[in-house]
């Protein structure tokens, strides 16, 4: 196994999606940034929604 293949194998075992890396590398850098920023905004919205939901939960004695 050559050194590149060893790194790929180590990455696969660690759970890194190599197809996703290829997809990213095919994009221009500006597009990588736009996709990243969109993903971050989505994560923050999900967290905000969870916080709102959690705040609405009532404690119970039972």
């Amino acid at each position: 196994m050559d050194s590149a293949e060893k790194i790929f194998e180590e990455a696969r075992r660690a759970g890194i999606d190599l197809d996703l890396v290829d997809t990213n590398l095919a994009l221009p850098v500006g597009e990588r940034w736009r996709q990243h920023d969109g993903a971050l905004r989505f994560i923050l919205k999900l967290q905000e929604a969870k916080a709102t939901y959690d705040a609405g939960l009532q404690p119970t004695d039972r």
Partner: protein
Amino acid sequence: MTPDFSQLIAKLTDSGFEFVMIGGYAAVTHGSSQVTRDLDICAVLTDENVELLRRALAGWNPRHRMTPQRLSFLQFPKAGERVNNLYLETDVGVVDILTSVLGLGDFARLKSSAEKFEIDGRVCWVISLEDLIVAKEAVGRGKDKLTALELRVIAAKRKL
């Protein structure tokens, strides 16, 4: 806060503030699929540079995120006051400005091997892939080690 690092970088670049992008967003620039919550950059924090930075960020309510009162960056530090690092929060995202990087060195060291990217007509200097791997491994946290491994994949793919 609505994060928009692309806009933040564009503003910093247009202001004439000289920096090298480091950290997670540099990893994204090189092709990493991770998501990061802040923009890390390395620069020399002279009075003149702090002033350039202040003017660039002025419209986005920059404040020191490590202070309980969220002190305004527009007022602190005072002129002549020496700072090593700035940890700021703005309306378009968190930006940390460091004067050196663990395992590598200062701005001059990073700039000497930085990679130049042209994005939307602007030139942006980004820590080299090799240096970023060293920096991520030097930090040594689990998530940084995983990013370093992903970056090693990218480095290996570059050589194919």
